[in-house]
């Protein structure tokens, strides 16, 4: 097991290295942000001074070498635009993104599983058909459009919820989050729901499919024959068995929620990492882009590792890393 984990981590290091080379070269080909950043009235001397100051006068391999040297000591470079540590900028925005990802995942679980169960247990009822039809909309409507519609309806027309931004934060058990204030919750409702729509639909479909399959299996029939009440059959025996795929998918989706909540964060002006990434791409702020992608690659590596390890614990038939990784 330990050897397996070490091997996996080394592989991830290789992935991070390769990714950083690709991003570096790619952004180098696209260009540099100097003309975008500098005062248009600036003369050549000033433009060249700025290029030197940002270190962009050196050959690309030199720049990469400097980056690697810094990265080994935990310094992923300074943002061109903000002038401060790229890593610090990302970490500062992480709580906002984490809280919206957590809220969205909770919504997916709390809405998706009961609705999916119902649709699986009573597949022919009108309500089930409505749930399934709506879930198709959840899959197919583009996030940005739904987001704008939600703002129009709930903020502009009805005035129930604030249209954009993050609410005030409060500290609870050492964690500072806007989830702990009423106004913060009002602010997070729409963006989290917007982000969760696709996941809710996904969970509904997974749960329904699992339910439909499990309901005809022998252990359910046996439990019925034994006279166990339906609520216990569904709540314990059925649910336990259909949860494995749902948990796996949600785990992976949680990673993508953190990494790619760009659209939702942009529409709702949510000050998270995704918005920072898209802003940085627009201004070719290479240090932030590279640092962000490194963090995301590591995040996925860790999530996958945890999922693999959990599998081996949950399911004794799975053996990790004896032959190949």
């Amino acid at each position: 097991m330990t050897a397996y984990i070490i091997r996996r981590l080394m592989q991830s290091a290789a992935v991070v290295l390769a990714m950083s080379v690709i991003v570096f070269l790619g952004l180098h080909v696209v260009g540099d942000p100097v003309y975008l950043l500098i005062d248009p009235q600036a003369d050549q001397a000033e433009i060249e001074r700025t290029i030197r100051r940002l270190g962009l006068d050196q050959p690309i391999w030199m720049q990469y070498f400097h980056f690697l040297k810094g990265a080994l000591s935990g310094d992923l470079g300074k943002s061109f635009v903000h002038g401060t540590s790229a890593l610090k900028l990302i970490v500062e925005r992480m709580p906002a993104t984490l809280e919206i990802a957590i809220a969205a995942t909770l919504m997916a679980i709390l809405l998706g599983i009961p609705l999916g169960l119902y649709a699986g247990l009573k597949p022919d009822s009108f309500a089930s058909k409505s749930i399934m039809a709506t879930s198709i909309l959840g899959f197919s409507l583009p996030t940005f459009w739904v987001g704008i519609m939600m703002i129009m309806v709930f903020a502009v027309m009805l005035g129930w919820l604030p249209s954009t931004g993050r609410g005030p934060t409060a500290t609870f058990l050492g964690i500072t989050s806007s989830l702990f204030t009423i106004d913060g919750l009002r602010h997070i409702t729409m963006p989290a729901l917007n982000l969760a729509l696709l996941k809710i639909s996904l969970v509904i479909r997974l749960t329904r499919a699992g339910t439909r399959e499990a309901i005809h299996q022998d252990y359910i029939k046996f439990a019925r024959a034994k006279g166990i009440p339906t609520s216990r059959i569904v709540g314990v025996h059925l649910l336990k068995n259909i949860m494995i795929p749902v948990v796996t998918v949600l785990g992976l989706e949680f990673g993508s929620l953190i990494a790619f909540s760009v659209v939702t964060e942009t529409i709702f002006a949510w000050p998270g990492m995704g918005k920072l990434l898209i802003d940085s791409i627009q201004t070719l702020d290479r240090p932030i882009i590279v640092a962000y992608l490194i963090i995301i690659v590591m995040l996925f590596v860790v999530i996958n590792l945890i999922v693999d390890i959990l599998y081996s614990i949950l399911d004794p038939r799975v053996r990790i890393g004896e032959k190949s990784a």
Binding site: V30, S163, G165, P271
Partner: protein
Amino acid sequence: MSLVKPLLASIVAAGLALSAPIPASAKELKMALSAEPSAMDPHFHNLTPNNALTSHVFERLVHFDEKQSLIPGLATSWKTIDEKTWEFKLRTGVKWHDGSLFTADDVIFTMERAPNVENSPGSFALYVRGKTFSKVDDFTVRVTTKEPYPLMPNDLATIAIISKKAATGAKTEDFNAGKAAIGTGPFKFSEFVKGDRYVVVRNDDYWGNKPVWSKVTIRPIKTGPARVAALLAGDVDVIEEVPTTDIARLQGDAKVSLGQGLSNRVIYFHIDHWRDETPFITANDGSKIKNPLKDVRVRKALSKAINRPAIVDRLMEKAAVPASQFLADGFFGVSKKLKPEAFDPDGAKKLLAEAGFPNGFKMTLHGPNGRYINDARMAEAVAQMFTRIGVETKVETMPPAVFFNRASQGAGGNPEFSFILVGWGSGTGEVSSPLKSLVATFDKTKGMGTANRGRYSNPVLDKVIDEALATVDDTKRGELLAKASEIAIEDVGVIVSHYQLNTWATRRGLKYVPRTDEYTIATSVSEQ
């Protein structure tokens, strides 16, 4: 009973009258910006959102009013001692937010720091370089230059004065944290949460007119529709850069009032003047031809082909004015003689035929996508207008970061494209800025023609610009600048299209006084 009733009524009425207007001490204002300020350090990055944000807290020696005319700021008056020396008299009795007194030492300190901020992506060095600042007494500062320098007050209107006491040794982070963000301005620093919100509170000891607002919260909302929605939902009171597609709708909305005004930004086209064969122009059959844009008749024809009123009316939804030169009427140094080129497709075709292109040629128009209001749509519309006179024009737009790099130095350090759409905002609020940067001959050592992406070069024009830049007398300089504009426009050094109008929207009951420099500042918001 008969007495009690009216008494009660009047008490209630009095109570209502008292409670109706919110007390002046507790008025909050929320504003949404279209871009994110990157620092509270006024010298970190010379960028519109940064300058607008920091000008709540910091002040300059000379201020721009909403039309970018110069008015006294921390200096009460300024004059030239001789051709190369300016003297600024400072305002006395001005207190920093920490209570200490503002003096000439702060000015000297500021000018030392401003050009040397660590990691600055675009510094103010340009406006400090070549000037020697010396203190005469506590409230008098002299500035000397090697050559006569008429733009001294304009340059000093860009540099925010910071406190020597509070900011000695301070880094940008110290300003963001508030420690060094001690200014003299109408508002005091309260909170800086990068990318989320920036909060300032009223400075009750302010030397000038005290602001109406006790607390101002500024938030970046980059997406246009989201900004409009935030205003309509009542989450913010003021938004800048209203998308042109929403202007008509908001005009009809009783909950909203609009403030629209001319900006200092002109949208124009650079033309390849320097290559004998230009990469993005071919004959109709695709073969190479000599650069037709070198012929003034072709340039004139292209200018005549542009239907400026239609662009203003339909594409820009009236949020623009047809342009005749680099800056609109009312700015210093504009020519009274120049009029917008009239739309004349037949005349354009005739000129093309005279120049030897009766059947036109093929061209690619390059432009940024997302830098100026409706820029990509604008490029498409103009390409169609060109195609109508026989110049078959393709459009290629790209993200600004890519575009400006290639348009400035894509061809081995030189401009890559043949014909580009760009814009120019005159930060100094007068015509020497575009003349010097856009149509003066490109010259690295002299620092001229830095943004001359068509490499236009006209020795006659250069001479007039040089003369204007060395003329301290305002009237004479104004005339020279006007003359230079006329030469550049009549020779079609660039083709100008329109001046942008900037649009702000506020909730009803508030009014935004539009600013030509595009700044969104709480002191420009008043109650109606």
